[in-house]
Each structure stands twice: as structure tokens, then as C-alpha cells.
Symmetry: C2
Subunit: 231 residues, 2 copies
DNA sequence: CAAGAAAACGTCACTCAGTGGCACATGCCT
DNA sequence: AGGCATGTGCCACTGAGTGACGTTTTCTTG
């Protein structure tokens, strides 16, 4: 599934194998058609035949590209999480974990292509509207979280001594889990505001909103239901 | 949608309309059959006909009880979130929001029936294993989060002055969102540990694990990737 | 208790997502 | 040119989910 860039035999293989280019073109066309159709005609009222007619492929071929009708609309999101994982693999892991994760999010966002931004925005708007897409999005996000957790456990596990601290064993692993969940939660908050806001908001706004969400985290722990000194 | 708020006040032997009792009985039988089948034969290898044969109803009737094949296995979870919302409606909202939410979770857990516990444990084990169930679970959880947020905004919105504080407008609403997300995240962490642990762990263990997860939250913000003083 | 309203159920027919199998076409390598 | 691998189209099929309509069961009211 996670088909990264193909291994090019040459030194700087700009020219991808012609077969691959065709494949990518079909893939893009499918995503594009899906985003347009789902937004215009609605997700439920769009049949697979509509999509395959647009791109002129058979229904059977569709499922060689995407696992489901929902999957095709979440392609931009999957690309992003894959990029995020890549960043996390390369990045230097030092300092506060939450900061590391925040920086990795921003870096991944900045790495994405120009066209991706448009598709991603459209995809997110659909996810906000269509429960079936939201379900798949959340599921994929959770799955990725598992991968991230594994990655982080390996890369900074031996560094964080966690055998019988003042809070008992396994507490730091739990903290790592929570930190990751908070990261994802903050990002999703940012995404929500971003995709329900003005349509011309670019990734700069998303990065800013993400920063805002992260900034709100510490204060959220001390948030008071009833201001002190009130009955 | 959520019409089946079967309030069981006091003794269980409350004389409900005979029609309702039959309905509840069928519903329970369906959930039970689904949990058994999905666990024993696998989710994918269980057809709707298998379920409807067990309970001796028609396939058409099945969809008058549950919206999907996944839905039936998530009934215990839905019951819980409904209870949680009820608690939040009645509870006194004062003090730290995170504490309020934590207490509400525990209270809701304690309110559930005895039989519910068994079904819930089984349901969670299935959710951990089956992506399709995970997706629906997450989606419903997110949906409920929306309801909770609305509820909280109304009940403690006017109390928390949020017009142009030191961090700009809307910051406290953002903090509330994050606090809610953290709550759900902590609970899900507890659930994960609970359902992948020993099979005889009851709700007392779940409550303890929830407390542990909440306790890990503050430390997760300051978690360091590389301990200070290391190369 | 009879009779009608209301809710629930079953049957049939249908749409559509998703899969397996197999033949055919296309790009790739030597 | 050849063989090889991969991608594609077509066909038939399973299974989830829905709409329509007639029948049964339960609740209600006189």
C-alpha cells in the first residue's frame, strides 16, 4: 500500500518508467473525479460506475487502485500521513516530544506539493460532511498513530528510562501515547477550523491554526468550569 | 436517531409495555448473536443471514433495529456514550473541566448494568481486531464528542468569559475542545489496555486504568525525547 | 369484548459495492 | 523479434442495504 517513490536505476531518475506515469495519471484522475463528484452530486448519489465512466476504466480496475469508494477521496490525507511518518523517521528527536511532533507536522505540511493543497482542502471539506468518509479517515488516522507509536518507541524508547519511576512502570509509555493522541487531537482541531472556514485559506493558515491549537493545550488542562470566586 | 433511551429506574422488573419488552428481547438477542458470531466465525465470514437465522427474524427486520452490520456490535458502546451524556446533563459543572469529565466517565461506568459489562468487554475486543468496527466506533465517538461539546458550551459557556483575553478570542472554546479530546484520548488509552489485557478484568480495572491515563496527561506535555544532559 | 388505529414483521424485488477468475492487451527487457 | 511481467476488461457472483406493500400482532377506545 505504501508505495513510495520507485527505485530509479539511474543517478537522478527524473523520468519515471512510462508505465508508472500512466498509472499515476489514472490515479490522479480518479481522485479528481471523486472529489468533484462527491462534492457536486453527493457521496451516496455517486456510483462507482459514474467514477469509472469519467476516467474511462472498468469497475474492476478501480479496485486495483483503491480499496473502497471512500478510500479514493482520502488519498490526499493518506499522502500526508505517509509524509509525516517519513519526516518522523528522519527528524532529530530531541527536546519535548510534543514540540517534536508539532514541528514534524509543520515540516510534513511544507513538504507537500502545490496541487496537493487544493485536493486536501476539498477532501477535508468532504470528510466534515460525510460520515462514511469521516469514519474511514479516523480509522486510517488511528492506524497511522499505531505506526507512529511503534516508530517513536523504537527511536526514543531506549533513551527514556522507564523502569520503576515514581509513578510505576510503563508510565512513560503511557505518556508517549497520550502525547501522540494530543498531537493528533490538536491537528484535527486545526483541520476542523481550517476546512469549515473560508475556502481560500491555504496551508499557511493551517500551520497557524495548528500552532494555535498546540498553544491551547497547556491551558486546557487548567480550564475551569466555574471561575474561582463564583457560587 | 438515539431514541432508545431505555431508562431502568430502580428495580429491573418494571412492567414495560409488552410490545417494548419483546422488542428489547429481540434487540438483545441480536447483539448477543453478533458478538458470539463475530468473535467465533469472524466478522467478514458472518453474513446477515447467519444473524437473522439465529434470532429467527427477517433480514428486513434487522435493519429496523440496527443501521448496519457493524452497528449491532457497537451497541454496548453506544449505550455507554448515551449514559455519559446523561451524566453530563445532570452533573454539577464546577472545578477543572478535565476533572469534571473524568468524574463523569467514572460515574457513567458505574451506572451501567451488570450484563452490560460483559458485552462491552467483548465488543471492545472485537473493535481492537476488526478495522471496520474500529472505524464505526471512532466515527460514533467523534459524533458524540460533537454533542458533548455543544452541551458543555451551553452549560458552561456563559460562565467562561472568552471575549478578548490575553490569547485572543475563541481561545477558551479551543481549550474546551482540546480538553474534551484529551478526555476521550485518555479513555481510549485505558480501553485499549483494558481490552488487550486479561479477559477477567472488570470495570473496576477499567476505572483504575482511566485514572492512570488521566494521571499521565500532565506529564505527557513535558515528556522529553532525550533526557537532559545526554549527548 | 369487538373493532379499528398503530406499530411491527415478512416477502419480494431491486441497487450497488466489492471479489474471483480468466482472457486479452500493453509496456518492459534482452 | 521474442518472452515476461504487469495492467486491464469482461463476466458472473456474493452480500449489504433499501423501498414497497401486504399481513400479523399489540395497543387503545367505545
Amino acid at each position: 500500500m505504501t508505495t513510495a517513490t520507485a527505485t530509479t536505476p539511474g543517478p537522478e531518475g527524473k523520468e519515471l518508467p512510462l508505465r508508472e506515469r500512466k498509472r499515476l495519471r489514472t490515479r490522479r484522475a480518479l481522485v479528481e473525479a471523486a472529489l468533484v463528484r462527491y462534492a457536486r452530486d453527493g457521496f451516496e448519489h455517486t456510483t462507482l460506475d459514474d467514477l469509472t465512466d469519467d476516467v474511462e476504466i472498468s469497475k474492476r480496475t478501480f479496485f486495483r487502485y483503491f480499496a473502497s469508494k471512500e478510500d479514493v477521496a482520502l488519498a490526499p490525507e493518506k499522502e500526508f500521513w505517509a509524509a509525516f511518518l517519513d519526516v518522523l523517521r528522519e527528524a532529530e528527536l530531541s527536546g519535548p516530544v510534543l514540540g517534536v511532533l508539532h514541528r514534524a507536522l509543520v515540516t510534513a505540511l511544507e513538504r507537500m506539493g502545490e496541487e496537493w493543497e487544493r485536493r486536501f482542502a476539498e477532501s477535508r471539506r468532504l470528510v466534515e460532511r460525510i460520515p462514511a468518509l469521516a469514519a474511514h479517515s479516523l480509522q486510517h488516522c488511528a492506524e497511522t498513530s499505531g505506526d507512529i507509536l511503534e516508530l517513536l518507541s523504537v527511536r526514543l524508547g531506549p533513551l527514556a528510562a522507564d523502569d520503576g519511576g515514581p509513578d510505576g512502570p510503563g508510565m512513560d509509555e503511557l505518556r508517549l501515547r497520550i502525547a501522540l493522541e494530543i498531537t493528533v487531537a490538536a491537528f484535527r482541531c486545526a483541520l476542523h477550523t481550517w476546512s469549515t472556514g473560508p475556502a481560500d485559506a491555504g496551508r499557511a493558515e493551517l500551520i497557524a491554526l495548528t500552532g494555535r491549537a498546540f498553544a491551547a493545550v497547556p491551558g486546557s488542562l487548567d480550564l475551569m468550569a466555574r471561575p474561582a470566586g463564583h457560587g
